[in-house]
């Protein structure tokens, strides 16, 4: 089954753009009689039975996609779960199965404190602070206020703990609500349904669910309110698809009253696959007849927790998976606490600094020890040491514990003195800066969604800066890239293109005083309308009518009536599994062919105001081989027609070519135009049956339908046999409406060096056509498609793909060395489906997939389950250091959002699950561009600078050995201000040159090299700050406090001038904070020196009165800044970064000083 194709660029788009229309699911809505269908289900069981005895029959694996997932393997007894219908005791006997309570909380009251603290202390720095706080408690070290030293750490820990606790409390509250919801459960003895809280539901119990209620657990359908056993469910919370899915109760069980039913279900062990279910049931009939043959159960017989029942007044089912075993719970991975990349990198530097600190303190301790040993005989009387305490009659010792202990104390004391080397203030500053950044992101009017009136939301506060380092974007399709609204846009009838939807449709169906209108109106093309209204005899009109009749009939859409405030008007809501079909039916309705009623045997269509009844004589379901579906319709006038619709490449093969050649050519031209507009195209054909042909077909069809073995294959053969010599009616173009600005956004992201992967639950064809319309895929791209359903096939496909990729990448690479850019390479796109991923993820094939995927420019994954989405994210996360971002809107994206480094939820459309799980939430996909390129860039740049600057500033201080106060008050504010406000390049420039984003991806602003350089700079600066006054005041009368004042002022000036040199943009706030900080420092020093209690009383006034003071200060400033200024000027001139060039460009544009238009782009470094 491996189909690996490398399509030539020309036909790839046209070939893949056409979507199929009927989902390839077994048991999808078919309008044969119910009994027949259920017998067909029984048949498939037989197939399974037979195939059990011999190797898997080939046809068994040739079934549709969803079956491939499930029916790959048989259930052994070891692997099976036995569920006794209506007998929870027995069901729970063999194994301890969980009850239906769910728990999504992280902590309990008991574990909260230890576990939360444990998690928080993953920050290396916190351990350091804890050790320090401990040290401060040692009385011998004579710390001023031991208690005060714990406060900062306690504060930081406390705030985080409260936040975590609150979140967990909210989770537990929502769990409690969920667990206490009430379901109707059948009490085995009573034969009566009793309300029971969800949490007490057990496996084997029979549950009744009413319309619009949520399903409490995964259950196999036993009976529904529909006599045929049909039930509709909405699965939006599971897979993000908002349309209704059809599920069936098996006829065997539907026929028995649920209260009386008993039997045994053998099903597979709980697993995450929401697209597959494998089980069989033996029903015991109350009459006591021997157990029947096992009936197979599949995906279409189970309704999953998290879904909602729609359009069905009730269903009864038996619980098979409960609580944590349910597929939805298995698909929700716990929220890992996220930490920003910058912060984890910071841990490295923290360790480095701690080592430096240790070294410094060791030096101090060793020197202290040496000195003590040297002076051991004098210590008693040494005037400035004097360990003798003569206050008591007995000679005591003053604060002295022996040389060894004193050395240790010297070490510990220097640790306390130098503790700011790793600044706790930094952690507080970082939180504050992030708050500020979050404020600006929320306030950004460019990220406000006008349509839904939603703002940007910052749900996680600690990963703002990660937005500037993203390399992979994993995007959901439905609802994220698209609006999930299919719109009929173009029709080509008999080769004539009608694509000017202008007028409102006026059609409505009136019968017995009741008006029925389609729920969604479609704009119609007046020309086409005229063509339809043309006289009966005209061929053109007939063909146009047939075209729309085909649209209205050749589908599996169910019309559902919706009440309106006006009792005489009812809306028709077309429900179906394929949104394309819905769009087509709505379009047909707009042109006056309104599908009003559909039963198994006939269809009622309101044709231009007149109700007509058509017999459905046969329906050939869509399958992925034929890529088309067809329906045989008996007209009121007894003519019989076959309507076929399908993908263009499959249709042109069966269309009669000998006549209407012009029409075919015209249609092909139109189709090409449509698909290049990104529309999903379908070709519609018709064949009029003569009596002979009909009879022939009918007997074959009946025979195939009643066949016991290989019915599906036979039916397919019948269809293939009859679907030929078609007259072409026309083609349609449906727009899967993209969200505004998506193609541009994707283009910007790509230019920024971000790889965009689309992970969707959709079919491959749909995914590819969307890929084209959002410019993710282009015609120049070579597509590598992997559709395999066994591990070996996957391996082979991957190897082929890898070699293809290598070949394509290798050849132009050699040339590109001359051309200088990589743009000569053939871009590659990898398209892979969920079935293949089942065999690849979590196996050794992951590595091969990773290699192929990273070579490809675009990766499209279709038919993926929620957990697979997370699996793909993990694939990248585990193998690279690159930052990943996941964006999605539905509950099916939750695991992916949580797994990625940054998770973004699209808010405003459907459920809130994605938003709840996300770190950031916004209204539109296109906001990703300002978010990443502008805010991400700024956040990263600012935070990286702030961290670096903090390390620098504190190490200047430590190298200087100074008083503790300054680091917190004197210099923290300007950093925070700069950390919140400064921007290297303006928004406009960032959006204009997405390439600038690479600064973050390449860690340009925060790396070890920069760190070491900064540390060297800080060492130089502290040396100048210390040695200039030292040498100038050597052998003078200078007193300690005066020199101290000089050094404080010098340090504060130096670090602020340093900051000023690095500020990119000076606005009034920056000015105010920077200069204000310096003034504030001077004022602080003056105030302290005005207090007579302190030894430094009046020192500042004395020293400021001397000229040497000013000479020193000025000298220090210049001397400390010279190396930095020189390096900065040199690098900016000789090795300018892209950001630097952009700044110059920006400035020159503003001042219009030079002819800037010439060079800019080419000066950007080639990346």
């Amino acid at each position: 089954m491996a189909s690996h194709s490398v399509n030539p660029p020309e036909d790839s788009a046209a070939a893949e753009a056409a979507p199929n229309t009927v989902p390839p699911r077994r048991g999808s809505l078919s309008f044969r009689s119910r009994a027949e269908r259920s017998s067909s289900e029984t048949l498939s069981v037989e197939i399974m039975e037979r195939s059990r005895s011999r190797p898997m029959a080939s046809y068994a694996s040739k079934r549709s996609d969803s079956d491939k997932l499930g029916s790959q393997r048989e259930i052994d007894d070891d692997e099976a779960r036995f569920v006794y219908i209506n007998d929870p005791e027995r069901s729970n006997l063999a194994a301890r199965l969980p009850n239906n309570a769910i728990k999504t909380t992280k902590y309990t009251i008991l574990t909260f404190l230890p576990r939360n603290l444990f998690e928080q202390f993953h920050r290396v720095a916190y351990i350091y602070f804890l050790i320090l706080a401990g040290l401060n408690q040692v009385p011998q070290l004579g710390v001023f206020s031991p208690a005060a030293s714990i406060l900062p750490l306690a504060f930081v820990l406390g705030v985080t703990a409260v936040k975590d606790g609150y979140e967990d409390w909210r989770r537990s509250r929502s769990d409690r609500n969920e667990n206490n919801r009430v379901a109707l459960v059948l009490v085995p003895g009573d034969r009566e349904f009793r309300p029971t809280p969800w949490k007490y539901v057990r496996v084997g119990e029979v549950i009744k669910v009413a319309a619009d209620e949520s399903i409490p657990c995964d259950m196999v359908l036993l009976a529904t309110s529909d006599p045929a056993g049909v039930a509709y469910v909405q699965t939006i919370n599971l897979d993000g698809e908002s349309n209704l899915k059809t599920r069936y109760a098996k006829q065997e069980m539907q026929s028995t009253a649920p209260e009386a039913l008993s039997g045994l279900i053998r099903c597979e062990k709980p697993n995450r696959n929401i697209y597959g279910f494998l089980a069989s049931v033996n029903v015991d009939f109350p009459t006591g007849t021997a157990a029947t043959k096992p009936v197979s159960l599949g995906q279409s017989n189970i309704i999953l927790r998290g879904c909602e029942l729609k359009n069905t007044s009730w269903v009864v089912g038996v619980a098979v998976y409960t609580g944590q075993d349910t597929k939805v719970m298995l698909n929700s991975s716990g929220a890992p606490s996220k930490r920003s990349r910058l912060e984890s990198q910071m841990n490295r530097e923290v360790i480095l600094l701690a080592a430096t600190l240790f070294a410094l303190c060791s030096i101090v301790a060793i020197l202290a020890g040496v000195w003590l040993v040297d002076h051991r005989h004098e210590l008693d009387t040494l005037p400035y040491y004097r360990k003798q305490d003569l206050s008591e009659p007995q000679v005591g010792k003053y604060n002295y514990y022996g040389i060894g202990a004193e050395t240790v104390f010297a070490f510990l004391m220097s640790v306390i003195l130098f503790q700011v080397m790793i600044p706790i203030a930094l952690y507080i500053s970082m939180e504050l800066v992030r708050l500020g950044q979050a404020f600006f992101m929320i306030q950004d009017k460019n990220m406000f969604d006008e349509a839904t009136k939603t703002r940007f939301q910052c749900r996680a506060l600690n990963i703002n800066e990660d937005l500037g380092q993203i390399k992979y974007v994993f995007s959901d399709k439905t609802g994220t890239l698209t609006e999930n609204k299919m719109e009929f846009r173009c029709a080509s009838v008999r080769g004539v293109d009608y694509s000017h939807g202008e007028e409102e449709s006026l059609f409505s169906s009136v019968s017995s005083g009741e008006t029925r209108k389609p729920k969604t109106s479609v704009k119609i093309d007046p020309e086409l309308m005229d063509a339809i209204k043309g006289g009966q005899g005209i061929e053109k009109a007939n063909l146009a009518r047939d075209f729309f009749l085909a649209l209205a009939t050749c589908n599996t859409v169910v019309p559902i009536l919706v009440e309106t405030p006006d009792p005489s008007v009812k809306l028709i809501d077309y429900q179906g599994e394929s949104p394309d079909e819905q769009a087509l039916v709505y379009a047909a309705a707009a042109y006056g062919f309104m599908l009003v009623e559909r039963t198994s045997g006939h269809i009622v269509v309101d044709v231009l105001g007149e109700r007509q009844r058509f017999n459905v004589l046969g329906l050939h379901e869509f399958d992925s081989d034929r890529k088309r579906m067809s329906v045989v319709i008996g007209f009121p006038d007894k003519t019989i027609k076959l309507f076929v619709k399908g993908a263009d490449n499959s249709m042109f093969g069966v269309i009669r070519k000998n006549i209407d050649l012009d029409i075919i050519r015209e249609t092909e031209t139109n189709l090409h135009a449509y698909s290049s507009m990104g529309l999903r195209t379908l070709v519609i054909g018709m064949r009029e049956f003569s009596i002979d042909v009909f009879e022939e077909w009918h007997s074959a069809y009946e025979k195939a339908s009643q066949s016991l073995i290989g019915r599906a294959k036979l039916l397919r053969a019948v269809a293939a046999n009859v679907e030929r010599d078609l007259n072409i009616l026309g083609a349609s173009g449906i727009e899967d409406k993209l969200q505004q600005g998506v193609p541009e956004a994707i283009e910007s992201l790509r230019q920024a060096g971000i790889k965009v992967w689309v992970l969707t639950g959709d079919k491959q064809e749909t995914a590819i056509s969307i890929g084209f319309s959002c410019k993710l895929l282009t015609r120049e791209m070579t597509q590598i498609v992997i559709n395999s359903n066994s591990k070996e096939a996957c391996r082979k496909s991957l190897q082929d793909a890898a070699s293809t990729a290598r070949r394509l990448k290798a050849a132009p690479d050699s040339e590109s060395t001359f051309s200088g850019t990589g743009s000569m390479q053939t871009p590659l796109a990898l398209i892979i489906d969920g079935t293949s991923l089942v065999h690849i993820l979590d196996t050794e094939l992951e590595d091969e997939l990773f290699e192929v995927a990273t070579v490809c420019d675009v990766v499209l994954c279709c038919r993926v389950a929620p957990m697979q989405k997370a699996g793909i994210v993990t694939l990248i996360k585990n193998r690279t250091d690159d930052m990943t971002l996941a964006i999605g809107d539905g509950a099916n994206d939750v695991s992916m959002i949580q797994m990625a480094d940054v998770g973004i939820g699209i808010s405003g459309q459907e459920g809130r699950q994605a938003v709840m799980a996300s770190d950031f939430a916004m209204g539109q996909f296109r906001f990703l561009v300002p978010l990443l390129l502008v805010h991400g860039h700024w956040n990263y740049q600012r935070m990286a600078y702030m961290i670096m600057y903090n390390f620098y500033r504190n190490s200047v201080f430590v190298f200087l050995l100074f008083c503790v106060l300054y680091s917190v008050i004197y210099t923290a504010l300007p950093t925070i201000i700069v950390g919140v406000l400064d921007k290297d390049v303006s928004r406009k420039t960032l959006l204009k040159y997405p390439k600038l984003y690479r600064a973050g991806q390449n860690n340009e602003r925060y790396n070890l090299k920069l760190f070491v350089l900064t540390m060297m700079d800080s060492l130089w600066q502290s040396l100048t700050v210390f040695y200039i006054p030292y040498l100038a005041y050597r052998r003078s009368t200078i007193d300690g406090p005066s020199l101290g004042d000089l050094l404080i002022l010098a340090v504060v000036l130096v670090v602020n001038i340093h900051l000023a040199m690095d500020v990119f943009q000076w606005n009034w706030i920056t000015h105010a904070s920077l200069w204000g900080c310096i003034v504030a420092t001077i004022i602080c020093v003056i105030i302290i020196d005005c207090i007579w209690m302190f030894p430094g009383y009046w020192a500042i006034f004395h020293i400021m009165g001397t000229r040497l003071f000013w000479a020193c200060l000025f000298g220090i400033l210049v001397a400390s800044m010279v190396p930095r200024f020189t390096t900065k000027a040199l690098t900016e001139y000789l090795m300018p970064s892209d950001v630097q060039l952009a700044r110059e460009l920006e400035k020159s544009e503003e001042t219009n000083l030079s002819n800037s238009s010439e060079i800019p782009l080419s000066t950007f470094s080639q990346l």
Partner: protein, 337 residues
């Protein structure tokens, strides 16, 4: 956060609805981060200007500072070695600790250049860590200022009280180790008056040391650290103590002893009678007597001038170097140079 898909639909009713506030972000230049701002860019012109400017300022200052330093006349005489008997450290310590030995020591100094008044007399101690953490803490400022707090000796360890428990005033190691060498100067037979008034900071006399606080129990212990104080003079007038208590920043320091308010001529010989009481021998400290005039930049120190000249010269060099770089390797700079 991981309100997983299980708690969906109606279960999520407790979750606050998305903020669908009509008050969409208000546009302001601040919230949109578009405050008008100056964006400095290091253009070659700027770089060269800055370096040149620094050079232009620093070189003249350096020259002036050097000249000032050269004008200062300074006589430094180390007397700790000549004013002692004994060869080994122990002998020296024994000698200086013996109350009966003569501590008087006469030295002569020759004036190398004319010295205009006022001539400052300093004593300079080497290797004396007045900035030691144990030392600087060992004082009580309240006690020094307020007569009511005479018994407050907290923080004065290990010199709080006498062995019998009476509080020492001024307490603490700093006061205890008060320098007690004395100098008297004469030229020929003529005594040189040394004015010891006003050598301390006025702010200290007025606000730090009380005028009604008198020394008590000072240097009464078995171990004498230095000078005794006249118990009838209030602390605010004990200027030697006030000077001493303003602890030095560096281990080699000078403290003002007094002022000679008359001019000294070149080659005049000054006789100094030193009472060499202070024990620096136990820790190998040096004692020096310093007579110095002063300039606008303070005492004699060539460092400032040399440093300024170096920085200024370096900046001139860098300015030239950058000019060369810009000429030799011109990059397309988007701004006018």
């Amino acid at each position: 956060m991981n309100n997983s898909a299980a708690s969906t639909s109606s279960g999520s009713g407790d979750v606050p609805a998305p903020r669908r506030n009509s008050n969409r972000p208000k546009y302001s230049r601040f919230t949109q981060q578009e405050l008008p701002a100056c964006k400095p860019i290091l253009t070659p012109r700027w770089v060269i200007t800055v370096f040149t400017l620094i050079g232009v300022i620093f070189v003249p200052i350096g020259v002036a500072a050097l000249m000032a330093s050269n004008k200062v006349v300074e006589i430094v005489y180390r007397y700790d070695a000549v004013c002692i008997h004994g060869n080994t450290k122990d002998e020296k310590v024994a000698y200086i600790q013996n109350a009966n030995t003569s501590k008087t020591c006469i030295i002569t100094l020759t004036v190398p250049k004319d010295m205009d008044q006022p001539i400052y007399v300093y004593y300079q101690l080497d290797n004396f860590y007045q900035n030691h953490r144990r030392y600087v803490k060992s004082r009580n400022d309240a006690q020094l200022k307020d007569s009511d707090k005479a018994n407050d000796t907290s923080g004065c360890d290990p010199e709080k009280t006498t062995p019998d428990g009476s509080p020492i005033l001024p307490c603490g190691l700093i006061a205890w180790s008060l320098f007690n060498d004395t100098y008297s100067f004469s030229i020929g037979n003529q005594n040189l008056t040394v004015n010891k008034v006003g050598i301390s900071w006025k702010s200290d006399r007025d606000h730090k040391f009380g005028d009604n606080v008198f020394p008590r129990n000072f240097q009464n212990g078995t171990l004498k650290g230095g000078a005794s104080l006249n118990e009838s003079i209030p602390l605010s007038q004990q200027e030697d103590l006030i000077v001493w208590m303003r602890t030095a920043a560096l281990p080699t320091f000078r403290k003002p002893y007094g002022k000679i308010e008359q001019n000294l001529r070149v080659n005049e010989t000054i006789t100094v009678i030193i009472q060499n009481y202070y024990n620096t021998y136990s820790f190998s400290g040096k004692k020096k007597l310093v007579l110095s005039t002063s300039s606008w930049l303070g005492g004699k120190n060539d460092f400032t001038g040399i440093a300024y000249l170096t920085i200024g010269g370096l900046c001139f060099f860098l300015a030239t170097a950058f000019a060369v770089v810009y000429l030799v390797k011109p990059r397309y700079v988007l701004l006018q140079i």
